[in-house]
Each structure stands twice: as C-alpha cells, then as structure tokens.
C-alpha cells in the first residue's frame, strides 16, 4: 500500500509541476506580459517600466524567473498585489475558508441527494420517477447558474424577503443562525447543478452494476433486496463514483466562482472577478494556482479512497 501511495504522490507532484509551468507560461503569454497594466497606462513612462521590470526581476532569463516564482509559491511568498501592495498570500488565503464553506456544503448536500436519486432511478428503471429525474437533471444542468442565482435573489430575497440577497454575514451579527441564513440561497444554486450531475453519474453506474453477474449471484443467495442494493450494488458503484468525484472537481470549483459573483459571497471567486478588471497579476495567478492545487489534491484523495475501498487496486503494489 505504501508503495502505491508514494507512486501516486510522485505523480501528483509531477502534475503540480506541469500545472505551474502552464500557469507561468500563461502569465507571460498574456498580451503585454505581466506588466500589462503599466504598459497600457499612458502616465507611466518607459524608464518607470524598466525600473519596475528590474524590481520584479523580469529582466532575468525566463527559467530564473520561473524558479524564483515557483520557489516563492512554495515558500508562501506569493508576491505583492499591484494595488495596495498587500501580501498576495494574505489576500487569497483569507478568502479560502468562505469558498471551502460554500463548496463543501454544496458538495455534501449534492452527494447525499444526488446518489439517493440516482440509485432510486436505477432501481426503478424506466419508471415515471426515472424519466422525471432524468429530464429534471438535464434541465438543471443546462440552467446558466448565474441566471438561476439572479432569479433566486429576485424571488426569494427581494420579493419574499426570506433570505438575504447576498454576502456571508449581516453586519454586527456573527451568530451561526445568521451565517446559515446567508448560506441557503448560494448553496441551493450551486448544489442544484451538482445534484443533477451526481444523480446522472450514480444512475448510469448503478445500472451497469445491477446488471453484473455478482449482483445476480447475491439475489440467488436469497439476500434481502436492500442488502443486495447497499452491500453489493452501492459498494461496487463506490469505485466509479469516487473516481468521478475527482474528475468533477474543476467543475465544482468553477461553479463556486460563478455562484460567489452572483451572491457576492466573499470567496476566492469574487476576489478573482473584482481583481480581474485591474489585471492584478500576482493575485490572479495565485487564485488560479490554488484552484488547480485543490483539483490535484482532490484527485489524489479520490485515488487514495479508491485504493482503500477496492482490493484489486493494491495489485500493482508488488
């Protein structure tokens, strides 16, 4: 098992290394280079640009810049924001908990509901429930999240006033109830898309599993249908589902970004948008890299869970 872990860790670090190279290339390929904001600003003179270049070490050969940048990334020195000179690490990291809170709750909610719907739809194949959930899921997948969020705000917040229209806390009230009160709408909007995806994934993998020979053997043993469904069906379906969770992470992170902008939820997504217009490179790059790291770690976690659950995986160990 240890060998499998080390092997997988090496793969993840190589992947991260690749991600950082692509990220670095992106930063330099973008028109105007990293100093785009200055070069486009008429008031800044040519000498100033030269001075800034040296200050940021942009005059050194590319690979030196890369290692300095990557080294900084690892050591926590993510550079300074072009505006207000604040440590990028502080700006980005203090927004992380908000994003994780939103993503975490939505994912948890969506997992439970989505897997339940998917399993039921697979068991009751071609029933009215199956068709209804399939069509519902397809429509939910097609809804533009931001539009759905807008309507939700308009309807539930402004007209009915049940929920706050945005933000994470009301001023001066840090009670848990208030925090939850703010969480409801954004989580519902983000979770809707996730529930749709999870119910479709679960349904198709459950259908494959329920047609397998070993499920028929279990039924032939005279085991109760619920035990067959859970101990045999769901357990085998766990492997493809966990693998899919890893693949779905980029969509989850992307979805969180969109939801944050609509509900002005103070997470990384909102920060990304607010900083985007000013082209504040270091912050943008930091968020992109954090997003990618979350995805890589997510995939690593998914692989480990699969290895724990599926005895066949340890095979490559010896």
């Amino acid at each position: 098992m240890a060998r499998f872990l080390i092997n997988r860790l090496i793969q993840s670090t190589v992947l991260l290394f690749g991600v950082s190279i692509v990220g670095f290339a992106l930063m330099h390929l973008a028109p105007g280079g990293p100093l785009a904001v200055y070069t486009l600003n008429p008031t800044v003179t040519a000498q100033d640009i030269e001075r800034i270049k040296v200050l940021f070490g942009l005059d050194q050969p590319v690979y030196v810049q890369y290692f300095k940048w990557a080294g900084g990334l690892l050591s926590g020195n993510w550079g300074y924001s072009f505006f207000g000179g604040q440590q990028v690490r502080e700006i980005v990291l203090d927004r992380l908990p908000a994003t994780f809170l939103l993503m975490g709750t939505s994912l948890a909610l969506a997992l439970v509901i989505g897997v339940a719907i998917g399993t039921l739809a697979a068991v009751k194949r071609n029933s009215v429930f199956d068709y209804a959930t399939a069509i519902g899921a397809m429509i939910a997948l097609s809804l533009p999240t931001f539009w759905f969020g807008l309507l939700a705000i308009f309807f539930f917040a402004q007209t009915l006033g049940w929920f706050p229209a945005g933000g994470m806390v009301s001023i001066g009230d840090s009670s848990l109830l208030d925090r939850l009160h703010h969480l409801v709408l954004p989580v519902v909007v983000l979770a809707l898309v996730l529930v749709a995806q999870w119910s479709r994934y679960t349904r198709s993998s459950m259908i494959d599993i329920l047609d397998q020979d070993f499920v028929r053997t279990a039924r032939a043993k005279g085991i109760s249908p619920s035990r067959v469904l859970v101990n045999h069906g769901l357990r085998a379906a766990l492997v493809p589902l966990v693998a899919l969770a890893g693949l779905q992470l980029p969509l989850l992170v992307g979805g969180a970004l969109v939801t944050e902008t609509v509900f002005s939820w103070p997470g990384m997504g909102l920060l990304f948008i607010s900083v985007l217009s000013t082209r504040d490179y270091p912050v943008l790059m930091a968020i992109l890299m954090v997003g990618a790291v979350v995805v890589v770690l997510g995939n690593l976690l998914a692989d480990i869970v699969v290895a724990l659950v599926d005895p066949r995986v340890k095979l490559h160990d010896e």
Binding site: D213, F214, T217, A220, K221, G222, S224, V309, P311, L315
Partner: protein, 318 residues
C-alpha cells in the same frame, strides 16, 4: 441412481417466459426426481438458461406463465418475500463465469457466510466455521487462509469451487447448474465435474445441469431434455437418448459432434440453416432446417411419449 420416486422433487408444467412478442421459453414441462440429475441441453438462445432463471424468479420485465412445484410448493406463484426465503435454501444456482460471479470487493469467505446467515439464524462465528468447512468440502486447500482471499487472487477453478460452496451452504434440495464448466479449461472442468458429482450423490440433491456440451451430459446426467428455440423437442434417459435419438434435431446434433477417435477427414454431418427467427415461426420451429419437414409440421407438435419414458415432439417420428 434414477430413483423413480413417486412424488417428483420438482414438477414444471407449461413454463412460459415471454419478452414482449418473443417467447424465449414456450410452455415446457418436465420433472426432476430427488437425487436425479436432469440435463438441459441445447444451443445458445434455446432458452435453457432462461428456464433456470425463471425457476429462481430472477428474471425482470418478462411475462412468466405456467407452474413449478418444488416439494409441493408452487414457486412461480409465491410473493417475493416467500420466494426469497427459498432462494439459496430450497433451490440454489451456480453460474457460468466464475470470474464475474463473485463480488470483486468482498472476501470469498464472507460471501459464503452471507449465504448462511441469509437463511440460518446462527452467530457470525458459527457461520464462519461452517464456511471454512464448506471451503474444505469443495476441495480448497488451507481453507482458513483462503477464507480471507479476494476473488481476483484466485484462479477460475477455485472461484467456481467457492460459487459451489455458496450454493450448497444451506443444503438446498434442488441445484440449478447453468454451464458450470464452460468457462474453464478442460483439465479444470474434469475436476469441477467430479466434485459436483460427489457432492450431489452425498447430499442426495436434485440437479438441473444446463450445458451445450453433449459429452458433459453423457458423463453426468441420468436423464436429458433437448431444447430448441424455447421448446423441449425430446426427453429421455441419457443412455436411451444417445442410443436411439428420435427427434431430427437431436439426431442431427449428435451426429454433428466431431468424434475424438473416429470419422477423421470426413465432412462432419451438419444441420443446414440457422436458428435465427425461429421463435416467431408458427408450428414446429425446427421445420425450416428439418429434412423430414412436411405440411403437418405447420401445426405445433405436442410432446408425446413413445416408448418407456421417452418423449418426443415431432409428427414424423417412426
């Protein structure tokens, strides 16, 4: 060992299995005496496996007709809960492909324990002990260690022994063996057939052995029923059937098997045409391929007894 006991262990009358318009099993009737092994023989698509799955009530979305009395209890009429209590206890089944019949993520021992605890209320420890005895009984060396092994760590032959142990767990009265050795190499097949024969004699079970291999039938069964496109075309004691095949299909089938030590280099007698589209055929379904076909064959032939316990469904037999 063909104990002609008065009341048969299993009495099947006009068993019908229809998927929409296509009748996979078209009203077949046969008996199995306690301790007797009945061979169910035919080419793929003749309905032999469907018959077994219908008796186990493991077929979904199909129309099932007729009756099947096991020890006087009508299986097809039971509600699902009552049937479940009998699956694995009174009637058990083993399947063709050992590689997929066992759950890949559960230890083989636990899968046998599950078969025991499904019907007997015994402690887990007791069930575990019995499972180990069962493993020893089916010829698996060092059963204590092999108890904790996963199916992918075992060869095809060993997996099939575990499947047999699972089926024998609650000493069923009737065992349905669906092509138990087709997926195995010939030397391993010989081992499994020898094991099956010993267990059946020891436990005095009734067995339906489903296969397309007439050599296996010749060596193992007391009586044989030959099926073609969903109907039994001939049924008799094994020696009687091989010595005096009456139905043109049985006769053709027996002659078209290449002999190990005779008939070299001569063309193998064949049955012209193919079984495609036969189940939609009115009258005798073998007619399109039968040399003796005539007008009378347009009306479906009934299974008539010609000679002592030798049934045939053909108008042109001598």
């Amino acid at each position: 060992m063909t104990g002609e006991a008065s009341t048969p262990l299993l009495k099947v009358e006009n068993l019908l299995v229809a998927f929409g318009r296509a009748k996979a099993v078209d009203g077949i009737s046969f008996d199995v005496a306690p301790g007797e092994m009945l061979g169910l023989v035919g080419e793929s698509g003749c309905g032999k496996s469907t018959t077994a799955l219908a008796l186990m009530r493991l077929i979904r979305d199909a129309e099932i007709g007729g009756t099947a009395h096991l020890n006087g209890v009508e299986l097809l009429g039971l509600d699902e809960a009552a049937m479940r209590a009998r699956r694995g206890a009174d009637i058990a089944m083993i399947f063709q492909d050992p590689g997929t019949a066992l759950h890949p993520m559960i230890r083989v021992g636990d899968q046998i324990v599950e078969a025991l605890t499904a019907h007997l209320n015994i402690s887990h420890r007791e069930a575990r002990k019995r499972a180990i005895d069962l493993l020893r009984k089916v010829g698996i060396a060092a059963p204590e260690e092999r108890f904790a092994v996963y199916p992918h760590e075992m060869s095809g032959g060993m997996c099939q022994r575990v499947v047999i142990a699972m089926a024998m767990a609650c000493a069923p009265r009737l065992l349905l063996a669906d092509e138990p050795t087709t997926a195995l190499d010939v030397t391993v097949q010989a081992q499994i057939l020898e094991l099956l024969q010993g267990l059946v004699r020891e436990e005095g079970m009734g067995v339906i052995l489903i296969t397309h291999d007439l050599g296996v039938v010749a060596g193992m069964t007391d009586r044989v029923a030959v099926m073609y496109a969903g109907a039994i075309v001939e049924m008799a004691a094994t020696e009687e059937l091989f010595a005096r095949p009456l139905h043109p299909y049985t006769h053709g089938l027996l002659r078209s098997i290449p002999q190990l030590d005779s008939g070299w280099d001569e063309p193998v007698p064949t049955i012209p045409g193919s079984v495609q589209g036969a189940e939609l055929q009115a009258g005798c379904r073998f007619a399109p391929r039968c040399a003796k076909a005539s007008e009378v064959c347009r009306t479906p032939p009934a299974l008539r007894e010609i000679g002592e316990n030798h049934f045939v469904s053909c108008w042109n037999t001598p």
